[in-house]
Structures are given as C-alpha cells and as structure tokens.
C-alpha cells in the first residue's frame, strides 16, 4: 500500500510523484522546517551526532545502491570513503582548489578506484566479491599508511574547514546545514536514480544476472556503473567527514566501519531508499546510548569485567545484525511499511 485509501492516479505524473497527497507535502514541509531549525534547540553535542548521521547516510545510501539494488556486496566501503577524503584534502590544501571542486573530485576519484576494484565483479560474485572488496579496503588503507609523503601516513593530514566562495563554514551549525543539504540531495538523487532505466537494470541484475544479460542489459557496464555511483557517494561522504573533523586519518576508515555500513543497510532494509536512513539513525543512536551508559554501568556494577566499556559496543552491534537477519531480514523499512498500512486502514483493517 503505497498510497492512502481512496487516492487514485489518473495520469503518469501522478503515478510517478514521490509526494502524492497534500498530507505528504505537509509532512515533508514540517520535517524540513524541523531539520532546518534544528540548531536552535540542539546543543553542540547533538549537532555533531547529527552531522555524523548525515555523513553516514550519504555513504550508506551509496552502499545501498551498490549492494541493495545492484546486489554487489562490498565490504570495503570505508576504504572508498578514505580515497574521497584524501583526494579532497590534498586538492584543497596542496593545490588550493575551492572546497566544492575538491568535493566533486573526491567523489569522482573514489568512483574510479571503486570501478577498478569492481572489475572482478563481472567474473565472480557472492563470497568471492566480498573477499575482493575486503582486499580493496586493505590495500587502500595500506597505501594510505605507507605513502607518507603524500598522505601523511599514520598521523594523517590536516584538513581546512569547508568553504563556499568566501564563506568559511567553521561552526558546528554551518557544517550541519552543509551536510543536511548534501544529504537531502543525495537521498533525492538516489531515490530518483533507482526509478530510471539504470536503476531498473540494477534491480534486474540483482534478481537474476543471467536473465538480465539475456534481456540485453550490458552486465559489465551496469555493474561498473553501480560501483562508480556507490563509491561516488562514499567519496563525497569521506570528504565531508575529513573536512568537518579537520583531519583525514586512516583510523576513520577502518575495516570495522565497512562491516558496520553493511550492518546498517541490513538493519534499515536492503533495496529501499528509506532503509539506510533508519539503519544509520538506529546504529548511531545505539552508539550514543552505549557511550553514555556504559561508564555509568561500569561504576554501578564494579564486578563487570574490565573491558566492558570498550567491548560492549561491538558486541551489541554484532548482536543487532544477527537478530535482524534472523527475525526481520527486510529491516526496519519493512516494519515502517507495515505500520503505515496499519494506520491507513485504521479502524477498518482486514
């Protein structure tokens, strides 16, 4: 049930509309008002969390296009983010290019590297592809750590704050607006991309790649396109992360992050636009909860073992991934769908 009861489409434009009814438009408007006035009532701590959520949503949306729509599992997404981060930081600090140029170049560079590592995807899939993307992540991080003259090695590179024209976005609030706008653009682009010819080709490849090929879809081209688009998003996210935290360091782009991104799309719901948003918010809020609660728990119960505070987060994340896969493989997005159809039919449900 995509539409409320009694709403009918009489022409193509109505059928394709994302926001169909007046209620949709009203809710969208309310959400945008709340988001754009958020700095008024959020403190700096929550703004920084919101920034992190926004950046992660961009990256995970890219991963969702690659894995959720095109079916190419990538466990090296953090590596592609790192490519974007370093590209942008090097271009803006060494070559004094404007931030926006650096941002776009970051996306393109990450996309190209992603395409290179996506080449094996034509011949292999499933586990093989997973391992080759893990290899991509390891090799990228190794190059970043080793190529000290360009990337600064373990210590990383200092990044300048983001700027548009003469406007330098230094404060938490201005960064929030930047990330918010880019996130909205990314989500909107992703939503529309998957409704185009390219997006439908991705879905066909995911569902049955042999049938897709027989139908005349050029597998090589579309798989590489998926890698390019997915990694383009990752590159943008990586660049934003580096510029807002003023540092590009290999620590931000570890293998565990790549695994977490996979967990986020699984928990949110594979192959839906809204899924990554749910997944990212779920994980980041869980993370906040753990970092806030675990020291308190540690001091309240002295018998807890010593590594409790540092070990509880990965344990809970792993547990969440396992539980969702067993009990709700379609993720929070599916629950949300159920909820929507339930209230639309209320009180006359089937």
């Amino acid at each position: 049930m995509d539409l409320p009861s009694g709403t009918r489409n009489y022409n193509y434009a109505e059928d394709m509309a994302i926001f169909r009814t007046k209620t949709h438009w009203f809710l969208l408007f309310a959400l945008l008002v709340i988001l754009f006035t958020a700095p008024l009532w959020f403190g700096n701590y929550w703004l920084s969390i919101a920034n992190l959520i926004g950046i992660t949503i961009i990256a995970v949306t890219g991963l969702n296009i690659l894995t959720g729509y095109c079916g190419q599992l990538s466990i090296g997404h953090a590596g592609f983010m790192a490519v974007g981060a370093y590209t942008s930081v090097i271009l803006t600090t060494r070559f004094n290019l404007p931030f926006l140029v650096g941002l776009i170049c970051a996306g393109v560079m990450a996309g190209i590297i992603g395409m290179i590592f996506g080449i094996p995807s034509l011949r292999v899939k499933g586990f093989y592809l997973a391992i080759s993307t893990i290899a991509a992540q390891a090799i990228i991080i190794w190059v970043i750590r080793g190529w000290t003259s360009v990337t600064g090695g373990y210590t990383g590179l200092e990044a300048s704050p983001a700027s548009i024209g003469n406007l330098i976005l230094k404060s938490q609030t201005s960064e929030f607006f930047l990330i918010l706008i880019i996130t909205i653009i990314a989500i909107f682009a992703a939503k529309n991309l998957v409704r185009t010819r390219v997006g439908r080709a991705f879905v066909a490849i995911r569902d049955n790649d042999l049938a897709a090929e027989v139908m005349g879809i050029n597998l090589f081209r579309y798989k590489l396109t998926a890698f390019f688009i997915g990694c383009f998003f990752a590159g943008i996210a990586g660049a934003l992360l580096a510029h807002t935290s003023r540092l590009a360091s290999p620590e931000y782009f570890s293998f565990t992050n790549s695994v977490l991104y996979i967990g986020m799309i699984i928990i949110g719901g594979l192959g839906t636009t809204i899924g990554p948003i749910f997944g990212v918010i779920f994980f980041q809020l869980l993370n906040v909860l753990v970092t806030k609660l675990s020291p308190a728990l540690q001091s309240a119960f002295p018998h807890l073992p010593g590594g409790f505070t540092s070990g509880i987060a990965p344990m809970l994340f792993g547990l969440a991934i396992i539980l969702f896969l067993i009990f709700e493989p379609r993720g929070i997005a599916h629950r949300w769908q159920l909820f929507k159809s339930a209230y639309r039919f209320w009180p006359f449900s089937y």
């Binding site: 894995t67 079916g71 599992l73 466990i75 080449i119 094996p120 011949r123 292999v124 499933g126 586990f127 093989y128 997973a130 391992i131 080759s132 893990i134 290899a135 991509a136 390891a138 090799i139 190794w142 750590r145 080793g146 190529w147 049955n208 042999l210 049938a211 027989v214 565990t256 695994v259 977490l260 996979i262 967990g263 699984i266 594979l270 073992p305 010593g306 590594g307 409790f308 540092s310 070990g311 509880i312 987060a313 990965p314 344990m315 809970l316 994340f317 792993g318 547990l319 969440a320 991934i321 396992i322 896969l325 067993i326 493989p329």
Partner: protein, 295 residues
C-alpha cells in the same frame, strides 16, 4: 642462503597452519554453502580460551587442551544451532552478513572478557632450536607442520571411510538427494561447524604458541580466505596445497621485499594482492570446481 632457507621453512610451517584453518572454512562451505567470515575471530576467541585454561586456571596440558577442544565443539554446535539454522535457504548476502555480525559479536566478547591486549601461552613445545642445513629454526614450527599434516590425514580418512564423513561429502554434492536418502542434513551442518571450530582452535593454539596471542590473530582469518581462494573454495587438497604457498610467499616475499619497499606492514597486504591476482586470472582457484550456471 641461510636466510632464504630459514624463510622457506618457517613460511611452509606457518602456511600449514593457514591450511588447517582454511580447511575449517572449506568444510562449512562445502556442506552448507555458508561463507564463514568470522574465521579469524573464532581463532582469536579460542586462543584466548586456551590462555584462560592453561595460564589463568593453570590446568595441566593433558586436561586443559582436551577441554579447549570440547569447548570448540560446543561453540560450533551453538553457532550453527542458534545463528545459521534459522537462515537455511536464505540468499548468500544474508549468510555472509550474519557471519560478519558474528565476527563483530565475538570481537566484543573477547574485549570484554580478556581486556589485555596480548599474552603468551605457556610453552607447549621444547625450547631447543633445530639446525636444518644452515638454517636455525625453533621447534614450534616443525611441530606445527607435523600436527597440521597429521590432522589433514585424519580428516581425509574420516571423509573417506566414516559413514558420517561420506554423508558430509554427499551433502556437498547434492543436498536434496541426500535428504531423500534419509540423512539428516541439519545434523551434517552442525557437524561441519563443529569441525570448523576445532580446526580453528588447533590453528589458534599453534599460531599463538609461535607468536603469542594478539588482536592480530584475526588476520589469520583473512589469510585463510586467501588460501581458500587460491586453492579453490570447495577443495580440501586445494586448501592443503595453497596454504604453504601463501605462507611461503608471505614470509619470503615480505622478507625480501622489505629491502626494496620501505612502506611498513607489507606482510599484511601480500595475501590481498594474491587474492586480487587470483580473482582476475583464475577466479575458481587452482583446484576449485568451475561452476557452470544454468538459467
């Protein structure tokens, strides 16, 4: 020359351990089609458990080591029963991701229970070094190689002559036919996970008796993946042959390349470079079955 010989011997011996761990992967993959990405974390967990039994609880070897094996069997059974059983016949994406979740979960558990970053097992093997030609090798490497070969032979015999072993091979071949014959497939799945955990335990004990227990033990899991990819995912002999090759390339390659490439940790990326090369040249490995798919 002495250096080359030394690298070769240690590389081959370490590679044998990788083969052992990789065999655990192959057993599970062949019987149930699950790609176990939590291999490295299992190795880490079981090594720490061994440390608890031998060093912290101070049990003698003849009691502590069998206890570790029993724990590994139990762990394999629990993992299969609770996590993998509900996911039978799910797409490969879910199966891979659930083992990633498991890996993350185990890592958290390990940090909670054993917060120290490293430890060393009590000595399992004699101290004296052995002179082979002009190379000087500690005995641990030779013992590791010996134990791996013995275990491989035992496993091969099991799969050839034991009823359950034959059933496991049959399951790998055709699950539906096996089910029609009245063989409980789920029992075979749990048996294969128990095997995988025991192999991970033995591999972990051997690895940590050589290099101590570190967080880096999880990387042996990644090395085991490069072994199975080189050898072919569904081939026992492939894993057994590819292991020493990977070990050899790793030690000899990193030993000599370190003179030319000054970037640190070249050792850690060599297996990945091998993976990428194998993927591009011969994706199904040296001995893997080249699957032909039907529409």
């Amino acid at each position: 020359m002495a250096q080359l010989l030394q690298f070769t011997i240690t590389g081959l011996a370490i590679g044998m351990i990788y083969s052992l761990i990789a065999l655990g992967f192959v057993v599970v993959w062949k019987s149930s089609g699950v790609a176990n990405l939590s291999l490295g974390q299992l190795v880490l967990l079981l090594s720490w458990f061994t440390y608890s039994m031998l060093a912290q609880a101070g049990l003698p070897f003849y009691f502590g080591l069998p206890l570790v094996i029993v724990f590994a069997l139990l762990l394999g059974w629990i993992i299969e029963r609770i996590i993998l059983r509900p996911l039978i016949a799910q797409p490969i994406l879910s199966l891979i991701t659930v083992t990633l979740g498991l890996a993350y979960f185990i890592e958290g558990i390990v940090v909670i229970i054993w917060p120290q970053s490293q430890a060393s097992l009590p000595r399992l093997f004699p101290m004296e070094t052995v002179h082979i030609g002009s190379a000087v090798v500690t005995q641990e490497y030779l013992w590791a190689a010996l134990i791996s070969v013995v275990l491989f032979i035992l496993l091969s015999l099991y799969f050839r002559y034991n009823r359950m072993g034959i059933a496991m091979r049959a399951t790998a071949d055709d699950q539906k036919a096996v089910q029609a014959c009245g063989i409980p497939v789920t029992k075979i799945f749990s048996r294969s996970w128990m095997f995988a955990c025991v192999l991970a335990a033995v591999g972990g004990i051997l690895m940590s008796s050589i290099g101590g227990i570190r967080q880096g033990l999880t990387e042996t899991g990644l090395l085991a993946f490069s072994v199975v990819i080189l050898g072919g995912l569904d081939s026992f002999a492939g894993a057994m042959i590819a292991g020493p090759i990977i070990g050899l390339v790793e030690t000899v390659g990193s030993g000599y390349l370190a003179n030319f490439i000054k970037w640190p940790e070249i050792r850690t990326v060599i297996p990945f470079i091998i993976i990428i090369i194998v993927m591009c040249v011969k994706p199904y490995g040296l001995f893997g079955e080249n699957r032909i798919e039907r529409i």
